[in-house]
């Protein structure tokens, strides 16, 4: 004590330091160490003080002596470190002692961590990562929306765009864009380059700087302005040899020249590229939107919200403008409002739900894998009970044994995780390959966040599957373990834990299998639908008919020449190809000659065809005749309608001889001469809609036509000859999108196939894991119950009854798990609703088949260990103690 009775602050600090350092020491040493050090410090200090000999020099020496406590403690720290290293060395060696279990564990983990990491790399780059524009969260798209249908968004009219653009106060930039293409003349070779045409603020709104030149200004969009384009880095490299003097150069095209004003950076993607094919060229409208009709809707918009303005404020602003327009132009805008959608949601919204469903599925697989590995580790831990008991007896702390087991499991998990990352690297590419239209797929990579995810999953996995066995080992009953020699010492708790793990595995597998079953059935339904045409052996080409030629004459020549080529059965042209989507023109029609004339106008699709289109696609004629060569200019106009048109609009009357009329650029009327089967023009999920086919020789409004060629053999093999003929006939005609109908149909079902394949693979993995788990648990229990089985058999139990007993043991768990899984499936499969076609979420066939499959697999998994138990020799079994 100081003379005043207050302890010296220096001494107090020293004692506090000793206390703090003491906390880092092993519990067994802590109290004694702290007490000795602080007692010595205080004793010496007070003694010197009392004797009046606590000089400044002595005080400094004592403080130095106190710091020696740190050096002293460091000896403990080094010891602890060495011990941990030793545990890790043991942890590294332990798996090698039981190589079979280790291999199974590592493979299980590699597969499940790999699948999770691969899927996460897709999820992260497609869904979670912000778009690659500065302040991308301020970018939105604004759509027309029917006031009574909040789920529908539609393209807007240029007149509305002008008003929105002028009246809003929420947007820094507000641009409109549409699909476009430029036919460049590269040294005499015409090439159609896909692009985006937009208003002057389009590229500015994205705030991505060009690497050369400049982007558009509003002046570039004025009607009558010079034709200027910005090109992609890829086009610049491919066609302009990365020539930096490209800026300002006038480049020849099929219809004049355009001046290149800028080159965008590599990897740049604009919003338009997510709606249309990836553009390589951007241009401006250069037309007066005020001359457009308010009712013609054909534009999309992108806008950047001003800093400080919230998304809700922007929406309120747009709603107010739309309300004003609805009042001012009731005939066109009465039931319309405007909807502001964040660009990120717009781009990925479509796939969000599917990706999260897949994530749920793959996470279940990981849980099943963890349960399985935990079970294996439990078995191994049991056989090591003796080792732990001996070590405990020799004084090892319980925490140290638990720590060592955890370390072992984390080491196993890390090996599995490393394999998983390697697998994911490859797996992510497979995933993207399977899902061709995934937005932002090009950005998917094993980036740092993905690797962090893999590491976290790995460590979590190691801890999760390692914790149960480790805690159990920590609680080993010393006496029993030493006496039992490591065998037969499994307690009730542990059996319960294993049983719970198996029940969980079965439930999860069943849930996954039911999901997979529903998706598979839906996919088969989809592929089983008859689209109304025969997609085999049909080559399709897109023809951009030259404006200078007489289109019907040109097409007739093309078809005639192509049909003379070897292996060609029919060649026909059509303005819109099934599944393709382009030129799907819907018109309002009137019908003349009906006894009960329709009271309102009828909507039907309009298609221009040449005579051999129907045989080329094998579309069946149901009544009358189809279009022939005689139906040309000057002959009476004819039309062929689809059966759906007849069913919906003809009131049961004979369609032949009736007349249909409509207006497309100009009014026209044609006589119905035949009826054909309906065709699924949109996709395989949408049933056929009413169609009116007219003769291209009599009506030719659309400049783009598709040539469909039916071949005797492989259609792809005929492609070069057909292209050669076309080039020879019309060297200036751009021919592109050469593909087959089979490919078009396949790509239209690529997404359902992707979902089905992934969930299918996940659920089969789950089933195999669960079966292996069940097998392992029963096999292990047979090993442990050898003695009991021996007694039963010695008392007269037959091999058959022993076998039944073991199988029943397994089936009890399977039935409990199955019931839980069925319950979960009833509750959860509704998330699949939107992905299913012609299948209900509680499809009875699936809900019956899957449990039967699980039961069958489980019986097999239980039978193998049961047979072993039944074949035991009771004498030998009894001797084994």
């Amino acid at each position: 004590m100081t003379p005043a009775g207050r302890p010296s602050p220096v001494l107090a600090a020293c004692v506090a330091l000793i206390r703090v350092v003491g906390r880092t020491l092993p519990a067994a040493e802590r109290a004694d160490w702290v007490m000795e050090w602080s007692a010595e410090m205080r004793g010496e200090w007070l003694d010197l003080e009392e004797r009046g000999r606590l000089t400044a020099l002595k005080r400094a020496a004592l403080v130095r002596r106190c710091l020696g406590a740190l050096v002293d403690a460091a000896h403990f720290w080094i010891e602890a470190l060495l011990m941990t290293l030793f545990d890790f060395r043991t942890a590294l060696r332990a798996p090698l002692r039981d190589l079979r279990t280790t291999t199974v564990v590592v493979l299980t983990l590699t597969l499940s961590i790999g699948a999770n990491t691969a899927l996460f790399s897709v999820i992260y780059h497609v869904l979670l990562r912000p778009l690659a524009y500065p302040d991308a969260d301020r970018l939105v798209m604004i759509w027309d929306q029917p006031a009574d249908a909040p789920d529908i968004t539609s393209i807007i009219s240029p007149r509305d765009f002008v008003d929105w653009h002028e009246q809003n106060s929420s947007f820094e930039y507000f641009a409109a864009f549409n699909l476009w293409a430029v036919t460049f003349d590269f040294q005499g070779e015409l090439q159609r380059v896909p692009g985006i045409v937009a208003t002057g603020e389009y590229l500015r709104a994205l705030q991505v700087q060009p690497i050369l030149g400049r982007v558009f200004t509003p002046a570039d969009n004025r009607s009558g302005a010079e034709a200027v384009v910005v090109i992609s880095h890829g086009l610049w490299q491919r066609q302009f040899g990365a020539d930096s003097s490209i800026v300002g150069r006038a480049v020849p095209t099929a219809g004049g020249t355009v001046t290149v004003i800028g080159v965008m950076p590599p990897g740049f993607r604009d919003p338009g590229g997510y709606f249309f094919s990836t553009p390589d060229v951007w241009g401006t409208f250069r037309r007066d939107f005020l001359r457009e009709r308010r009712r013609s809707h054909w534009m999309r918009t992108v806008a950047r919200i001003k800093p400080g303005v919230s998304h809700e404020q922007a929406q309120a602003d747009m709603t107010a403008i739309a309300d004003r327009l609805a009042e001012a132009y009731p005939e066109s805008n009465a039931d319309e409002t405007a909807k502001v959608v964040p660009l990120h949601d717009q781009i990925v919204g479509d796939v969000r739900q599917e990706l999260w469903i897949l994530t749920g599925a793959v996470a279940l697989v990981l849980l099943i894998a963890c349960a399985n590995v935990a079970n294996l580790m439990l078995s191994r831990a049991v056989s090591r009970n003796q080792e732990f008991a001996i070590r405990t007896a020799l004084g090892a702390e319980r925490t140290r044994i638990v720590g060592q087991l955890l370390a072992e499991n984390v080491v196993l998990a890390l090996i599995g995780g490393a394999g998983g990352v390697a697998l994911a690297h490859w797996g992510a590419r497979v995933l993207i390959g399977l899902a061709p239209d995934l937005p932002r797929a090009e950005t998917v990579a094993l980036s740092a966040p993905v690797l962090v995810f893999a590491l976290l999953v790995t460590i979590a996995t190691g801890v999760v599957f390692g914790l149960a066995p480790a805690l159990q080992a920590g609680g080993v009953d010393l006496h029993a373990a030493l006496k039992g020699g490591g065998r037969g010492s499994e307690g009730h708790d542990r059996r319960q834990l294993r049983a719970t793990l198996i029940v969980g595995e079965v439930a999860f597998s069943l849930l996954l299998l039911i999901g997979a079953g529903l998706l598979t059935k839906s996919f088969l339904e989809l592929r089983g639908t008859d689209p109304g045409f025969d997609e085999t052996n049909v080559l399709t080409l897109r023809l951009n008919l030259p404006r200078s030629e007489n289109a019907p004459e040109a097409l007739r020549t093309i078809v005639e020449r192509v049909e003379t080529l070897p292996d060609i059965e029919y060649a026909g042209a059509v303005s819109s190809l099934p599944i393709h989507g382009l030129n799907n023109v819907g018109l309002a029609w009137g019908i003349q000659g009906l006894e009960t004339p329709p009271t309102e106008s009828l909507s039907s699709f309009y298609r221009e065809i040449t005579p051999d289109y129907f045989p080329a696609m094998r579309i069946t004629t149901l009544a009358g005749r189809t279009i022939s060569d005689a139906d040309r200019d000057g002959a009476p106009p004819v039309a062929v309608v689809s059966d759906e048109f007849v069913r919906r609009y003809m009131n049961g009357e004979d369609p032949i001889g009736k007349r249909v009329s409509s207006s497309f650029r100009a009014p026209f009327t044609a006589e119905i001469v035949g009826v054909v089967r309906g065709v699924q023009y949109h996709n395989l999920e949408t049933p056929p809609e009413p169609e009116v086919y007219v003769s291209h020789a009599q009506f030719h409004v659309l400049g783009v036509m598709f040539l469909a060629v039916r071949t005797a053999g492989d259609p792809v093999a005929s492609a070069p000859a057909i292209r050669g003929t076309l080039r020879e006939l019309y060297p200036n005609m751009v021919v592109d999108e050469v593909t087959t109908m089979e490919q078009l149909v396949a790509s239209s079902v690529a997404r359902p196939r992707f979902n089905m394949l992934l969930i299918g693979v996940f659920s089969l993995t789950a089933l195999v894991l669960a079966a292996v788990g069940l097998y392992a648990v029963l096999a292990y229990s047979v090993t442990r119950r050898v003695h009991e089985v021996g007694i039963r058999m010695a008392l007269g139990a037959s091999g058959g009854s022993v076998q039944r007993m073991i199988v029943l043991d397994g089936m009890k768990l399977v039935v409990i798990g199955g019931v839980l899984g069925l319950g979960a499936a009833f509750a959860l499969t509704r998330v699949l609703q939107s992905l299913l076609f012609n299948v209900t979420v509680t499809d009875p066939a699936t809900f019956v088949t899957v449990p039967v499959v699980i039961m069958a697999v489980s019986v097999l998994a239980s039978y193998l260990p049961a047979r072993r138990a039944a074949s035991l020799d009771p004498n030998a079994a009894l001797r084994q103690e």
Binding site: D32, M35, E36, W37, S38, A39, E40, R42, G43, E44, L46, D47, R64, R65, C66, L67, G68, A69, L70, V71, D72, H75
Partner: protein, 105 residues
């Protein structure tokens, strides 16, 4: 029983304990060795059975109005080790040590 390594520091500590029990800071005062050396060494010597330690009676400490002390003492094995040490470092024997504070019991 493992043989201990007779360094000079160890020998000095053994020598200091030769006169009878001492507590930690007393050994430091006697040998002049730093505290960061003395305490780990004392633990090692205890583990090797050369030295034993015991806490003085709480009542004694209280009577003397000072914190409890932990006294270290040579075992029989320690006496032998001290003899070895003195043979090895004869200078130690002639070195004058400050008198230890006697164990109150």
């Amino acid at each position: 029983m493992s043989r201990i390594q007779l360094t000079y520091s160890t020998s000095a500590v053994l020598h200091a304990l030769g006169d009878g029990p001492r507590y930690g800071f007393d050994i430091i005062n006697a040998t002049g060795l730093p505290s960061g050396t003395i305490y780990p060494m004392l633990r090692r010597l205890q583990r090797n059975g050369v030295v034993t330690s015991r806490w003085e009676d709480a009542a004694d400490a209280h009577r003397r109005q000072r914190p409890q002390r932990k006294y270290y003492n040579l075992t029989t094995k320690g006496e032998t080790a001290l003899a070895d040490a003195l043979q090895r470092f004869p200078a130690l024997a002639s070195a004058a040590l400050p008198a230890g504070v006697p164990d109150p019991r």
